[in-house]
């Protein structure tokens, strides 16, 4: 899926959060790195229309994120930094089915798709569990399942391994590596970027590097000085 | 209603439900426990304003109707809507709305603190007590047979406790306004 930024910039109350940016993203695995407040999340939110560019344009598969907001949301799924917040209904299977409601699907179709995605992420045994009782790793897997059930072409993950212990971090890393979908991953977990096709480094609202993982990480370390 | 408004309404309803599940507060100088749930009604108006505040309370009552024990003390179901005190529950919705309406008109973020306090206090007393009692006593009088005057009078013994709640709603309303303002302004 082609994601195209054309001179897109964002400012909040006149203060620039992301300086004008033009680029085209089509690789399967794209990483985004940078310090807190460097513009990473702003950049990611532009992709599925959660944020509108103040100036310029962003398109996903040829669809404008402002004009075709609903269609773009169907193509680009978003996993939030705190997956607890994006699980909306009390029980896991209900929450996964939630994304499919209002799509004119039959009840059978909804439950078949829900079962399939639970199976895909090997969390069928959690189907009837309450969201607030899931562990960190389980919540993150559930969040990914709840977004992928609607069949988006690209998945944006905002710090997916944040707050996870070593074992769960490994589980999520492997899950991301195994996704057939295109994935854009914001992360502070630099080893996660091994094998990625392209890494963007943001610094103070500007794209500072756009390179292969090793080179981008090297630039990152140089800028930050550690 | 925007998605954010919908979520605010649901979260506030969840707060009111949670307040019914925690043990009642006791104030040091008064031995009567304060059930926090009816305080939640005043707070809904003071914090979310008329429309969203009333919607939050209505949502709580909807949960009661469908059979969830979300009123304080684990009460719920249709039975509470046919008892003699059912009017107070209906009054909660109107009360939250009127509280919100008055707060929206009287309270501004830019006002001095004292004016904000007085605005919230007036809103909580008129909406959270006046309107709630109006509905409550109307049904109580209708449903309670011939002794309605005596019973209506007897229900007034709860007024002092409710005035304390209005005072707490005033303090909390103003603190939330300072920390995370949500109240829409109306002129």
């Amino acid at each position: 899926m082609d994601i195209v930024f054309s001179e897109a910039s964002v400012s909040f109350a006149g203060r620039p959060a992301l300086h004008p940016l033009s680029l085209r993203l089509f690789e399967r695995r794209i990483g985004i790195i940078g310090l807190n407040g460097s513009g990473k999340t702003t950049f990611a939110r532009l992709i599925n229309g959660l944020l509108r560019p103040t100036i310029g344009q962003v398109t996903v598969g040829g669809l404008d994120t402002v004009k075709d907001e609903a269609a773009v949301r169907g193509r680009a799924g978003f996993i939030f930094q705190n997956p607890q917040h994006q699980m909306i209904l009390p029980v896991l299977s209900e929450d996964i089915a939630f994304g499919l409601k209002n799509r004119r699907l039959s009840k059978e179709e909804i439950s078949a798709r829900t079962d399939a995605v639970l199976e895909r992420f090997r969390i069928t045994h959690l189907a009837g569990r309450r969201i607030h009782e899931l562990s960190g790793g389980e919540t993150q897997l559930a969040a990914i399942a709840s977004v992928l059930v609607t069949g988006p072409d690209v998945l944006i993950l905002d710090e997916p391994t944040n707050q996870l212990d070593l074992k769960n971090r490994r589980l999520i890393e492997e899950t991301i590596a195994g996704l057939p979908e295109q994935a854009i991953v914001i992360t502070h977990d630099l080893p996660l970027l091994d094998g990625f096709d392209r890494v963007l480094l943001f610094h103070e609202g500007r794209l500072e590097a756009d390179a292969a993982p090793q080179e981008a990480v090297r630039t990152y370390r140089r800028i930050v000085g550690c | 209603m925007s998605t954010r408004d919908l979520v605010l309404v649901a979260l506030f309803a969840a707060i009111i439900v949670a307040l019914g599940l925690v043990p009642p507060f006791t104030l040091g100088f008064i031995p009567v426990p304060i059930t926090a749930q009816s305080l939640g009604v005043m707070l809904a108006g003071c914090i979310l304003g008329a429309r969203r505040g009333a919607a939050a309370v209505l949502l709580v009552l909807l949960l009661v109707v469908i059979g969830l024990p979300v009123l304080s003390g684990g009460r719920g179901g249709l039975a509470v809507f046919v008892g003699p005190t059912a009017g107070y529950l209906a009054g909660w919705v109107a009360g939250a709305f009127v509280t919100g309406l008055i707060a929206e008109r009287l309270v501004r973020e830019t006002q001095p603190e004292l004016a904000q306090f007085l605005g919230f206090l007036a809103a909580a007393i008129v909406g959270g007590i006046g309107v709630v009692y109006l509905f409550g006593i109307a049904w109580l009088s209708y449903s309670s047979g011939k002794a309605f005057m005596e019973i209506a009078m007897a229900s007034l013994i709860f007024i002092p406790g409710d005035l304390i709640k209005a005072f707490i709603a005033m303090l909390a309303g103003r603190a939330v306004l300072a920390g995370y303002p949500l109240l829409p302004a109306r002129t």
């Binding site: 599925n48 959660l50 609903a70 949301r73 169907g74 799924g77 978003f78 939030f80 705190n82 917040h85 994006q86 909306i88 209904l89 209900e94 939630f98 994304g99 209002n102 969201i131 607030h132 709840s146 | 209603m1 925007s2 954010r4 919908l6 979520v7 309404v9 979260l11 309803a13 969840a14 707060i15 439900v17 949670a18 599940l21 925690v22 926090a36 707070l43 914090i47 709580v60 909807l62 109707v65 469908i66 059979g67 969830l68 719920g76 179901g77 249709l78 039975a79 046919v82 008892g83 003699p84 449903s143 309670s144 047979g145 011939k146 002794a147 707490i168 909390a172 939330v176 920390g179 995370y180």
Partner: protein
Amino acid sequence: MLTGLDIAGDTPLHRASARLKLILLFLAAVALFLVHSPWALAAAAIIAVGLYASTGIAPGEAVRRVRFVLFTVLLVAVANYIFHSLDDALAVLFRLGALVLLAAAVTATTTISAFMDEITRLLRPLERFGFVRAADVSLAVGLVLRFVPEILARYGDIREAHRARGLRVRPLGVLVPLIILTLKDADTIAMAIDARAFRRQ
């Protein structure tokens, strides 16, 4: 934690549709207020006890559910006895008592989803005028059930934090941070709902 008040079973009341039960409850309420004879009302109360018992509810649970409302009914009856007559007192006692038990019987035999379906149907005409969307109402109900446990956990955390800092736990000191912290999540949750494209027009 928050489980419904319906009781599993296959009694005639369980099999009746939610709509039929609600209509009958409404008609019963109207009828009970039109009747004034204590004897006729006593008969109605006995029938109501029978119907409530027919739901298969355990006796202890049956009493626990209605005792508070029945207590207020009793207070009202006592006031009628003191200020008026025994007949007035009995009429109010049996009328409201019967109504409370009938309502409790409907609640005990109707599942939450059956109620929600009925409410969705009732909202449909309003939906046409753009007042409210039925899908939003069921979403809001789900959100409340989802977040009550989290708010309770947060309530516990705030109390603990007060104690850790050696502060006395006061209503305001708990309420204000509880409300602000909870409502601050609204933006993220709303964004998550929009991101999942649920409320498409």
